[in-house]
Subunit: 344 residues, 2 copies
Amino acid sequence: MASRIVLPEKDEGDILERCKSFMCSPITDVHVLQERKDEMSTRMEMLILETQAAFCKALEQVDGGSFKVDRWQRKEGGGGISCVLQDSKVFEKAGVNVSVVYGNLPEEAAKQMRSRGKVLKAKDGKLPFCAMGVSSVIHPKNPHIPTVHFNYRYFEIEEADGTKQWWFGGGTDLTPMYLNQEDAVHFHSTLKEACDKHHPQYYSDFKKWCDRYFFINHRNERRGIGGIFFDDLDSPNQEEVFAFVKSCARSVVPCYLPIVRKHVNDSFSPEEKAWQQLRRGRYVEFNLVYDRGTKFGLATPGSRIESILMSLPLTARWEYMHEPVKGTKEAELMEVLRQPKDWI
Amino acid sequence: MASRIVLPEKDEGDILERCKSFMCSPITDVHVLQERKDEMSTRMEMLILETQAAFCKALEQVDGGSFKVDRWQRKEGGGGISCVLQDSKVFEKAGVNVSVVYGNLPEEAAKQMRSRGKVLKAKDGKLPFCAMGVSSVIHPKNPHIPTVHFNYRYFEIEEADGTKQWWFGGGTDLTPMYLNQEDAVHFHSTLKEACDKHHPQYYSDFKKWCDRYFFINHRNERRGIGGIFFDDLDSPNQEEVFAFVKSCARSVVPCYLPIVRKHVNDSFSPEEKAWQQLRRGRYVEFNLVYDRGTKFGLATPGSRIESILMSLPLTARWEYMHEPVKGTKEAELMEVLRQPKDWI
């Protein structure tokens, strides 16, 4: 890759002070977080909780409603905080979920990772791991406000010799029901800006990765108009990757909220609402058939199903042989889902 | 297995005469069917077309609407006839599909079969195959009319030495939104009667297989109250298995239509309709995450996606953390989905 721009890490401030703004107390005990405040697992847990709170509050402000906050524990270790706003004024279903789980990696998960090329040396058949992330899907009521999804995650595995393997993954992507050029450019530019601070190739590489990942193979179309997506990011070093992930996580509100505010009072027809419902059906197809995170979650014993399937819309529709008429706004969207374009 | 009751094969009649009752002309040319009238592939194609027509006509009679009939061809060989009745008087979405496909078995399909224990010896890496079946899912509007699904299929593979491997599979199962003891007993008794003509163990074995197959693992619940399910049936001989499959296929109308007629004028509340929509969500989860036929179809190049996903309901719903209140009719259904029972 080309030359790299390194930024000094901004001070992350006092743990107790930062916790006050969260939707709920952290998953890990606050005293443990304070003791280990310089460890990456602590810094990432603080970042995902901060991202959850900032996004939920921004959505509450525009909606007028309040998120229901569920704190849950995982028997095998760790837990999470699920925030949901359902059938509210602006949002049909808005879910923002944080989880911090640890224990020994289930065999199925190790297999999936090895199939991606990871070399994992187990000690007595065990691989202690820690995984955490923030993930969110927002389905608005108005078909002129797009659906958004983001996820930022961190993974640590302890190998037989005691060394730790770690990597980050994540992304933010937009799923409009109607194409709006200005929205698309705003969304992608905001992501590009976050990426460009860290590496000149990041936006271009991760935009392409996003178009490849969110592909509904059996429909030969993408789920939406993309954004960025990356996984297994572990270079040049932990500090720089974390700084990049932080920039991405902090770009979520500026990526999406201006688009919500712009369209919140747009009028729409029953036909436009019906089209949104059909597109929601495709969203369900992608998430249940292809999404790696969903499939992994559904197959993992002890995972919290309601938090995984929070990503599904409140309502969806499937019509036999529906095909938009040429020249309509619906057909315009399909074209860009079949042939992704560069927005900037 | 215990003693076996062999019935003489009933005369199947003149090909041309039988074709007159079909929804559409057969997939295979009628002259070819006439020439090969004693071959199993011909007899099965006639049976599935006859089953499709009988079921569609019975549904049309109760609904008042007419099925849309689509005949389609598969580039790689064969084709199908898809019959759909959508957003009609009684039915929200009713799909009855027949397909007859042949060619060389795709590697992915061979892998899936070998993982089930099949030994397949390819000739120059090729396995000529022929697969055919009738399958149907009926989603009624009234939440007091259950959803039904059935599928009867036949498979032939030619091995390196020219010998043919063949087997039958199939089943019929019911998915009510509200439990009705009488309906459940009628449905299962009708299936048992069809099974008992052929083997005293069939109903009991295939009822259990059905409960195991239609299991939504991540929800720890079954899709419905079962019925029968079997696969890889190839003994004691082709004639007897075909006679059994024929009895099953001919039991579809008597299994389901009396239940439809009984409830077609039942009144229902908006709450009952909302519960139906949530159960439809679970139907989508099973079909997209677990159903072998759907997964196989979506992964097979050249398959007709709209005919595979015809099984999805017109509308579905997902509510975060929905749980029926104890003692309600909704909770009563959940109990039997979590713990299947014997109906007869």
